[in-house]
Symmetry: C2
Subunit: 229 residues, 2 copies
Protein backbone atom coordinates (compact mmCIF):
# COMPACT_ATOMS: atom_id res chain seq x y z
CA UNK A 1 0.00 0.00 0.00
CA UNK A 2 1.40 3.34 -0.99
CA UNK A 3 0.42 6.46 0.88
CA UNK A 4 -0.01 9.57 -1.20
CA UNK A 5 -0.19 12.25 1.46
CA UNK A 6 0.59 15.06 -0.94
CA UNK A 7 -2.62 14.95 -2.91
CA UNK A 8 -5.71 16.82 -1.72
CA UNK A 9 -7.94 13.83 -2.40
CA UNK A 10 -5.87 11.71 -0.03
CA UNK A 11 -5.68 14.39 2.62
CA UNK A 12 -9.35 15.13 2.69
CA UNK A 13 -10.12 11.42 2.95
CA UNK A 14 -8.28 8.65 4.81
CA UNK A 15 -4.65 9.10 5.83
CA UNK A 16 -3.38 6.14 3.83
CA UNK A 17 -2.05 4.64 7.05
CA UNK A 18 -3.25 1.09 7.73
CA UNK A 19 -4.74 -0.08 11.02
CA UNK A 20 -6.18 3.14 12.35
CA UNK A 21 -9.28 3.02 14.52
CA UNK A 22 -11.36 6.08 13.79
CA UNK A 23 -14.95 7.18 13.60
CA UNK A 24 -14.71 6.79 9.82
CA UNK A 25 -14.26 3.02 10.09
CA UNK A 26 -15.60 2.20 13.57
CA UNK A 27 -18.94 3.19 15.06
CA UNK A 28 -18.70 4.89 18.48
CA UNK A 29 -20.73 2.06 20.02
CA UNK A 30 -18.24 -0.47 18.63
CA UNK A 31 -15.33 1.49 20.07
CA UNK A 32 -17.12 1.73 23.42
CA UNK A 33 -17.58 -2.05 23.47
CA UNK A 34 -13.91 -2.59 22.57
CA UNK A 35 -12.84 -0.18 25.31
CA UNK A 36 -15.07 -1.90 27.83
CA UNK A 37 -13.30 -5.17 26.97
CA UNK A 38 -9.88 -3.56 27.50
CA UNK A 39 -10.98 -2.16 30.88
CA UNK A 40 -10.57 -4.80 33.53
CA UNK A 41 -11.34 -4.53 37.25
CA UNK A 42 -7.63 -4.94 38.02
CA UNK A 43 -4.40 -4.74 36.04
CA UNK A 44 -1.40 -7.02 36.67
CA UNK A 45 1.55 -5.17 38.22
CA UNK A 46 3.79 -6.06 35.28
CA UNK A 47 1.33 -4.61 32.78
CA UNK A 48 1.07 -1.30 34.59
CA UNK A 49 4.59 -0.86 35.99
CA UNK A 50 6.69 -3.40 34.09
CA UNK A 51 8.10 -1.22 31.31
CA UNK A 52 7.27 2.29 32.48
CA UNK A 53 6.58 3.49 35.99
CA UNK A 54 4.61 6.70 36.39
CA UNK A 55 3.24 7.99 39.66
CA UNK A 56 1.25 11.16 40.34
CA UNK A 57 0.70 13.22 43.47
CA UNK A 58 -1.29 16.30 44.35
CA UNK A 59 0.74 18.75 46.44
CA UNK A 60 -0.78 21.79 48.14
CA UNK A 61 2.10 24.11 47.23
CA UNK A 62 2.20 26.76 44.48
CA UNK A 63 3.63 25.32 41.25
CA UNK A 64 6.38 27.94 40.99
CA UNK A 65 7.63 27.06 44.48
CA UNK A 66 7.37 23.32 43.83
CA UNK A 67 9.25 23.67 40.54
CA UNK A 68 11.96 25.89 42.07
CA UNK A 69 12.46 23.29 44.80
CA UNK A 70 12.48 20.25 42.53
CA UNK A 71 14.91 21.61 39.95
CA UNK A 72 17.62 22.20 42.53
CA UNK A 73 19.43 18.89 42.68
CA UNK A 74 20.71 19.31 46.22
CA UNK A 75 17.14 18.95 47.48
CA UNK A 76 17.38 15.28 46.49
CA UNK A 77 19.22 14.96 49.79
CA UNK A 78 15.97 15.91 51.55
CA UNK A 79 13.22 14.14 49.70
CA UNK A 80 14.82 10.94 48.45
CA UNK A 81 15.23 7.97 50.71
CA UNK A 82 18.96 7.52 50.31
CA UNK A 83 20.73 10.04 48.00
CA UNK A 84 23.16 12.10 50.07
CA UNK A 85 26.43 14.04 50.08
CA UNK A 86 26.35 15.49 46.56
CA UNK A 87 29.38 17.40 45.36
CA UNK A 88 30.55 18.61 41.94
CA UNK A 89 31.95 15.71 39.90
CA UNK A 90 34.33 17.74 37.73
CA UNK A 91 32.34 18.01 34.52
CA UNK A 92 30.16 21.17 34.62
CA UNK A 93 26.62 20.32 35.74
CA UNK A 94 27.54 16.81 36.85
CA UNK A 95 27.27 15.94 40.54
CA UNK A 96 28.26 12.85 42.45
CA UNK A 97 26.91 11.63 45.76
CA UNK A 98 26.22 8.49 47.75
CA UNK A 99 23.25 6.19 47.30
CA UNK A 100 23.09 4.88 50.85
CA UNK A 101 20.74 2.13 49.70
CA UNK A 102 23.85 0.08 48.94
CA UNK A 103 27.15 0.42 50.81
CA UNK A 104 29.91 2.15 48.89
CA UNK A 105 27.67 3.08 45.98
CA UNK A 106 28.26 6.39 44.21
CA UNK A 107 25.53 8.00 42.13
CA UNK A 108 26.19 10.56 39.39
CA UNK A 109 23.50 13.04 38.51
CA UNK A 110 22.78 15.90 36.12
CA UNK A 111 19.54 17.87 36.29
CA UNK A 112 17.87 19.14 33.12
CA UNK A 113 14.92 21.41 33.70
CA UNK A 114 12.66 23.69 31.73
CA UNK A 115 10.99 26.55 33.58
CA UNK A 116 8.19 27.08 31.06
CA UNK A 117 7.06 23.44 30.87
CA UNK A 118 8.15 22.89 34.51
CA UNK A 119 9.85 19.63 33.59
CA UNK A 120 12.68 18.39 35.78
CA UNK A 121 14.68 15.42 34.52
CA UNK A 122 17.28 13.77 36.71
CA UNK A 123 19.84 11.99 34.53
CA UNK A 124 21.63 9.56 36.85
CA UNK A 125 23.73 6.42 37.00
CA UNK A 126 25.35 4.30 39.64
CA UNK A 127 29.14 3.84 39.63
CA UNK A 128 30.01 6.04 36.62
CA UNK A 129 29.11 9.40 35.15
CA UNK A 130 29.87 8.85 31.48
CA UNK A 131 26.46 7.43 30.53
CA UNK A 132 23.54 8.66 32.60
CA UNK A 133 20.85 6.11 31.78
CA UNK A 134 18.74 6.07 34.99
CA UNK A 135 16.45 8.93 34.06
CA UNK A 136 13.77 10.29 36.35
CA UNK A 137 11.34 12.38 34.32
CA UNK A 138 9.32 14.69 36.52
CA UNK A 139 6.97 17.56 35.87
CA UNK A 140 5.18 20.10 38.04
CA UNK A 141 1.72 20.78 36.61
CA UNK A 142 -0.36 23.67 37.99
CA UNK A 143 -3.36 22.03 39.63
CA UNK A 144 -5.79 24.89 39.00
CA UNK A 145 -6.48 24.19 35.31
CA UNK A 146 -6.26 20.37 35.54
CA UNK A 147 -7.99 19.75 38.89
CA UNK A 148 -9.78 23.02 39.63
CA UNK A 149 -7.87 23.64 42.86
CA UNK A 150 -4.74 25.55 43.89
CA UNK A 151 -1.43 23.74 44.19
CA UNK A 152 0.49 21.35 42.00
CA UNK A 153 0.27 17.93 40.47
CA UNK A 154 3.68 16.30 40.29
CA UNK A 155 4.24 13.46 37.83
CA UNK A 156 7.23 11.13 37.87
CA UNK A 157 8.05 8.66 35.11
CA UNK A 158 10.84 6.11 34.74
CA UNK A 159 11.45 4.01 31.64
CA UNK A 160 12.99 0.54 31.94
CA UNK A 161 16.34 0.98 30.25
CA UNK A 162 17.92 -2.43 29.42
CA UNK A 163 20.74 -1.65 31.85
CA UNK A 164 18.30 -2.12 34.72
CA UNK A 165 18.27 -5.79 33.74
CA UNK A 166 22.00 -6.10 33.04
CA UNK A 167 24.68 -3.93 34.62
CA UNK A 168 26.88 -2.80 31.70
CA UNK A 169 29.87 -2.11 33.96
CA UNK A 170 29.88 -4.73 36.74
CA UNK A 171 33.59 -4.14 37.28
CA UNK A 172 32.81 -0.70 38.72
CA UNK A 173 30.73 -2.07 41.63
CA UNK A 174 32.30 -1.45 45.04
CA UNK A 175 32.17 -5.20 45.70
CA UNK A 176 30.85 -8.47 44.27
CA UNK A 177 27.94 -8.59 46.71
CA UNK A 178 26.53 -5.17 45.92
CA UNK A 179 22.95 -5.57 44.62
CA UNK A 180 22.27 -3.98 41.22
CA UNK A 181 19.83 -1.06 40.99
CA UNK A 182 17.72 -3.01 38.52
CA UNK A 183 16.94 -5.55 41.20
CA UNK A 184 14.70 -2.83 42.63
CA UNK A 185 12.76 -2.08 39.43
CA UNK A 186 9.68 -4.01 40.53
CA UNK A 187 9.68 -1.96 43.75
CA UNK A 188 9.95 1.41 41.96
CA UNK A 189 6.20 2.02 42.14
CA UNK A 190 6.29 1.54 45.92
CA UNK A 191 9.67 3.15 46.54
CA UNK A 192 8.93 6.20 44.43
CA UNK A 193 5.55 6.52 46.16
CA UNK A 194 7.38 6.70 49.50
CA UNK A 195 9.76 9.35 48.15
CA UNK A 196 6.92 11.31 46.54
CA UNK A 197 5.26 11.33 49.98
CA UNK A 198 8.46 12.84 51.37
CA UNK A 199 8.42 15.48 48.64
CA UNK A 200 4.77 16.29 49.34
CA UNK A 201 5.39 16.47 53.10
CA UNK A 202 8.34 18.87 52.72
CA UNK A 203 6.63 21.16 50.21
CA UNK A 204 3.35 21.31 52.14
CA UNK A 205 5.00 21.73 55.57
CA UNK A 206 7.01 24.71 54.39
CA UNK A 207 4.26 26.20 52.24
CA UNK A 208 1.61 25.91 54.97
CA UNK A 209 3.97 27.41 57.57
CA UNK A 210 5.14 30.26 55.31
CA UNK A 211 8.71 28.97 55.47
CA UNK A 212 11.09 29.26 52.52
CA UNK A 213 10.37 26.17 50.42
CA UNK A 214 13.89 25.92 49.01
CA UNK A 215 16.86 25.67 51.37
CA UNK A 216 20.59 26.14 50.79
CA UNK A 217 22.73 23.12 49.98
CA UNK A 218 23.91 21.31 53.09
CA UNK A 219 27.42 21.21 51.71
CA UNK A 220 27.46 25.02 51.35
CA UNK A 221 26.40 25.31 54.99
CA UNK A 222 29.14 22.88 55.96
CA UNK A 223 31.60 24.88 53.89
CA UNK A 224 30.59 28.10 55.63
CA UNK A 225 31.08 26.46 59.01
CA UNK A 226 33.67 23.70 58.58
CA UNK A 227 33.49 22.89 62.29
CA UNK A 228 29.95 21.59 61.86
CA UNK A 229 31.10 18.59 59.86
CA UNK B 1 6.55 21.21 66.21
CA UNK B 2 8.36 24.22 64.88
CA UNK B 3 10.75 23.88 61.97
CA UNK B 4 13.87 26.02 62.14
CA UNK B 5 15.26 25.61 58.65
CA UNK B 6 17.43 28.70 58.83
CA UNK B 7 19.94 27.39 61.34
CA UNK B 8 22.94 25.33 60.19
CA UNK B 9 22.33 22.73 62.89
CA UNK B 10 18.86 22.11 61.52
CA UNK B 11 20.00 22.03 57.91
CA UNK B 12 22.86 19.66 58.46
CA UNK B 13 20.61 17.33 60.41
CA UNK B 14 16.96 16.43 59.82
CA UNK B 15 14.75 18.76 57.79
CA UNK B 16 12.36 19.48 60.64
CA UNK B 17 9.54 18.11 58.49
CA UNK B 18 7.51 15.38 60.18
CA UNK B 19 6.69 12.04 58.61
CA UNK B 20 9.60 11.63 56.21
CA UNK B 21 10.84 8.15 55.42
CA UNK B 22 14.58 8.31 54.93
CA UNK B 23 17.68 6.24 55.48
CA UNK B 24 18.28 8.28 58.64
CA UNK B 25 15.17 6.89 60.33
CA UNK B 26 14.45 3.70 58.37
CA UNK B 27 16.86 0.88 57.56
CA UNK B 28 17.00 -0.07 53.87
CA UNK B 29 15.80 -3.57 54.73
CA UNK B 30 12.78 -2.08 56.52
CA UNK B 31 12.00 0.09 53.50
CA UNK B 32 12.37 -2.92 51.20
CA UNK B 33 9.89 -4.88 53.32
CA UNK B 34 7.45 -1.94 53.30
CA UNK B 35 7.78 -1.60 49.54
CA UNK B 36 7.22 -5.33 49.08
CA UNK B 37 3.97 -4.95 51.02
CA UNK B 38 2.87 -2.06 48.78
CA UNK B 39 3.64 -4.08 45.65
CA UNK B 40 0.73 -6.32 44.86
CA UNK B 41 0.39 -8.77 41.94
CA UNK B 42 -2.44 -6.65 40.55
CA UNK B 43 -3.78 -3.14 41.10
CA UNK B 44 -7.49 -2.25 41.01
CA UNK B 45 -8.41 -0.15 37.97
CA UNK B 46 -9.66 2.70 40.15
CA UNK B 47 -6.38 2.86 42.05
CA UNK B 48 -4.30 3.10 38.90
CA UNK B 49 -6.57 5.09 36.57
CA UNK B 50 -9.21 6.57 38.87
CA UNK B 51 -7.73 10.01 39.53
CA UNK B 52 -4.96 10.26 36.94
CA UNK B 53 -4.63 8.36 33.68
CA UNK B 54 -1.15 8.07 32.18
CA UNK B 55 -0.27 5.85 29.25
CA UNK B 56 3.11 5.38 27.56
CA UNK B 57 4.09 4.16 24.11
CA UNK B 58 7.33 3.53 22.29
CA UNK B 59 7.28 4.92 18.74
CA UNK B 60 9.97 4.18 16.18
CA UNK B 61 10.11 7.75 14.85
CA UNK B 62 12.74 10.42 15.60
CA UNK B 63 11.69 12.59 18.56
CA UNK B 64 11.96 15.84 16.60
CA UNK B 65 9.57 14.50 13.94
CA UNK B 66 7.19 13.09 16.54
CA UNK B 67 7.18 16.38 18.46
CA UNK B 68 6.68 18.48 15.31
CA UNK B 69 3.71 16.29 14.39
CA UNK B 70 2.11 16.22 17.82
CA UNK B 71 2.31 19.95 18.48
CA UNK B 72 0.33 20.81 15.35
CA UNK B 73 -3.25 20.64 16.52
CA UNK B 74 -4.74 19.88 13.12
CA UNK B 75 -3.13 16.42 13.30
CA UNK B 76 -5.68 15.58 15.99
CA UNK B 77 -7.97 15.03 13.02
CA UNK B 78 -5.75 12.11 12.00
CA UNK B 79 -4.80 10.34 15.18
CA UNK B 80 -7.80 10.83 17.46
CA UNK B 81 -10.85 8.67 17.14
CA UNK B 82 -13.40 11.42 16.68
CA UNK B 83 -12.04 15.01 16.68
CA UNK B 84 -12.62 16.54 13.26
CA UNK B 85 -13.24 19.74 11.30
CA UNK B 86 -11.16 22.17 13.33
CA UNK B 87 -11.34 25.85 12.43
CA UNK B 88 -10.25 29.05 14.17
CA UNK B 89 -12.67 29.95 16.98
CA UNK B 90 -12.07 33.70 16.94
CA UNK B 91 -9.74 34.09 19.92
CA UNK B 92 -6.11 33.77 18.74
CA UNK B 93 -4.82 30.22 19.29
CA UNK B 94 -8.26 28.82 20.04
CA UNK B 95 -9.74 26.28 17.64
CA UNK B 96 -13.15 24.68 17.51
CA UNK B 97 -14.10 21.40 15.90
CA UNK B 98 -16.51 18.50 16.19
CA UNK B 99 -16.22 15.60 18.61
CA UNK B 100 -18.06 13.04 16.54
CA UNK B 101 -18.29 10.77 19.58
CA UNK B 102 -21.52 12.58 20.43
CA UNK B 103 -23.84 14.13 17.86
CA UNK B 104 -23.78 17.91 17.68
CA UNK B 105 -20.88 18.24 20.13
CA UNK B 106 -18.34 21.00 19.57
CA UNK B 107 -14.89 20.81 21.12
CA UNK B 108 -12.68 23.85 21.75
CA UNK B 109 -8.93 23.39 21.86
CA UNK B 110 -5.73 25.36 22.42
CA UNK B 111 -2.31 23.73 22.11
CA UNK B 112 0.53 24.75 24.43
CA UNK B 113 3.87 23.24 23.55
CA UNK B 114 7.50 23.60 24.52
CA UNK B 115 10.12 22.60 21.98
CA UNK B 116 12.97 22.12 24.46
CA UNK B 117 11.06 19.88 26.88
CA UNK B 118 8.97 18.49 23.98
CA UNK B 119 5.78 18.85 26.01
CA UNK B 120 2.49 19.21 24.15
CA UNK B 121 -0.58 20.09 26.19
CA UNK B 122 -4.01 20.12 24.62
CA UNK B 123 -6.32 22.41 26.60
CA UNK B 124 -9.84 21.45 25.57
CA UNK B 125 -13.48 21.59 26.56
CA UNK B 126 -16.78 20.47 25.15
CA UNK B 127 -19.50 23.03 24.36
CA UNK B 128 -17.60 26.21 25.33
CA UNK B 129 -14.17 27.77 24.95
CA UNK B 130 -14.04 30.07 27.96
CA UNK B 131 -12.68 27.49 30.41
CA UNK B 132 -10.53 24.76 28.91
CA UNK B 133 -10.48 22.16 31.68
CA UNK B 134 -10.07 18.88 29.72
CA UNK B 135 -6.29 18.91 29.56
CA UNK B 136 -4.26 16.30 27.74
CA UNK B 137 -0.65 16.50 28.92
CA UNK B 138 1.69 14.81 26.47
CA UNK B 139 5.44 14.64 26.09
CA UNK B 140 7.80 13.24 23.49
CA UNK B 141 10.87 11.78 25.22
CA UNK B 142 13.89 10.73 23.14
CA UNK B 143 14.11 6.95 23.54
CA UNK B 144 17.89 6.73 23.19
CA UNK B 145 18.81 7.92 26.70
CA UNK B 146 15.85 6.35 28.50
CA UNK B 147 15.54 3.04 26.65
CA UNK B 148 18.83 2.71 24.79
CA UNK B 149 17.21 2.62 21.35
CA UNK B 150 16.37 5.15 18.64
CA UNK B 151 12.90 6.63 18.45
CA UNK B 152 10.55 8.21 20.95
CA UNK B 153 8.62 7.44 24.08
CA UNK B 154 5.35 9.34 24.16
CA UNK B 155 3.61 9.87 27.49
CA UNK B 156 0.03 11.05 27.89
CA UNK B 157 -1.53 12.09 31.20
CA UNK B 158 -5.03 13.25 32.09
CA UNK B 159 -6.09 14.48 35.52
CA UNK B 160 -9.67 13.99 36.71
CA UNK B 161 -10.99 17.54 36.91
CA UNK B 162 -14.23 17.69 38.97
CA UNK B 163 -16.09 18.78 35.83
CA UNK B 164 -15.70 15.25 34.48
CA UNK B 165 -18.11 14.22 37.25
CA UNK B 166 -20.46 17.19 36.95
CA UNK B 167 -20.99 19.22 33.77
CA UNK B 168 -20.73 22.86 34.89
CA UNK B 169 -22.73 24.12 31.89
CA UNK B 170 -25.40 21.51 31.08
CA UNK B 171 -27.47 24.18 29.31
CA UNK B 172 -24.85 24.29 26.52
CA UNK B 173 -25.36 20.64 25.52
CA UNK B 174 -26.83 20.21 22.03
CA UNK B 175 -29.67 18.20 23.56
CA UNK B 176 -30.82 16.62 26.82
CA UNK B 177 -29.77 13.12 25.74
CA UNK B 178 -26.15 13.96 24.93
CA UNK B 179 -23.85 11.87 27.17
CA UNK B 180 -21.33 13.88 29.20
CA UNK B 181 -17.62 13.46 28.49
CA UNK B 182 -17.02 12.43 32.10
CA UNK B 183 -19.14 9.33 31.55
CA UNK B 184 -16.15 8.09 29.55
CA UNK B 185 -13.49 8.69 32.25
CA UNK B 186 -13.29 5.04 33.24
CA UNK B 187 -12.68 4.18 29.58
CA UNK B 188 -9.90 6.75 29.12
CA UNK B 189 -7.16 4.19 29.68
CA UNK B 190 -8.60 2.01 26.92
CA UNK B 191 -9.72 4.82 24.61
CA UNK B 192 -6.44 6.69 24.84
CA UNK B 193 -4.59 3.44 24.23
CA UNK B 194 -6.52 3.05 20.97
CA UNK B 195 -5.71 6.63 19.97
CA UNK B 196 -2.05 6.26 20.98
CA UNK B 197 -1.95 3.20 18.68
CA UNK B 198 -3.23 5.42 15.88
CA UNK B 199 -0.53 7.98 16.65
CA UNK B 200 2.16 5.27 16.65
CA UNK B 201 0.85 3.78 13.40
CA UNK B 202 0.86 7.14 11.60
CA UNK B 203 4.31 8.22 12.83
CA UNK B 204 5.92 4.85 12.11
CA UNK B 205 4.25 4.39 8.72
CA UNK B 206 5.48 7.75 7.48
CA UNK B 207 8.88 7.52 9.16
CA UNK B 208 9.56 4.00 7.86
CA UNK B 209 8.48 4.96 4.35
CA UNK B 210 10.45 8.23 4.30
CA UNK B 211 7.24 10.21 3.87
CA UNK B 212 6.78 13.65 5.41
CA UNK B 213 5.56 12.95 8.94
CA UNK B 214 3.57 16.16 9.23
CA UNK B 215 0.87 16.97 6.67
CA UNK B 216 -0.94 20.23 5.84
CA UNK B 217 -4.27 20.96 7.53
CA UNK B 218 -7.20 19.45 5.69
CA UNK B 219 -9.09 22.71 5.91
CA UNK B 220 -6.22 24.58 4.24
CA UNK B 221 -6.26 22.05 1.45
CA UNK B 222 -10.01 22.53 1.11
CA UNK B 223 -9.53 26.27 1.14
CA UNK B 224 -6.97 26.07 -1.67
CA UNK B 225 -9.39 24.01 -3.73
CA UNK B 226 -12.90 24.99 -2.67
CA UNK B 227 -14.39 22.61 -5.20
CA UNK B 228 -13.08 19.64 -3.26
CA UNK B 229 -15.44 20.28 -0.38
Amino acid sequence: MTATPSTPAELSGPTGVPCLTTVENTAPAVLAARCAELTRPAHPHQEVYGQYCTIHEYVDCPPDDAYAYLRQGHHLEEWTFSLRNFEPAGTPGLWVGDDLLEAGTRIYCRVESNAEARTVDFHCAWDQGEQLWMIYLMRVVPAEPVLGRPGSVITWTNCRHPYYDANPRPELAPGPDRAWVGAYWDLFYAGHTVEMSNLKAILEHRSHNSLPVSVPPRSAVAAADPGSK
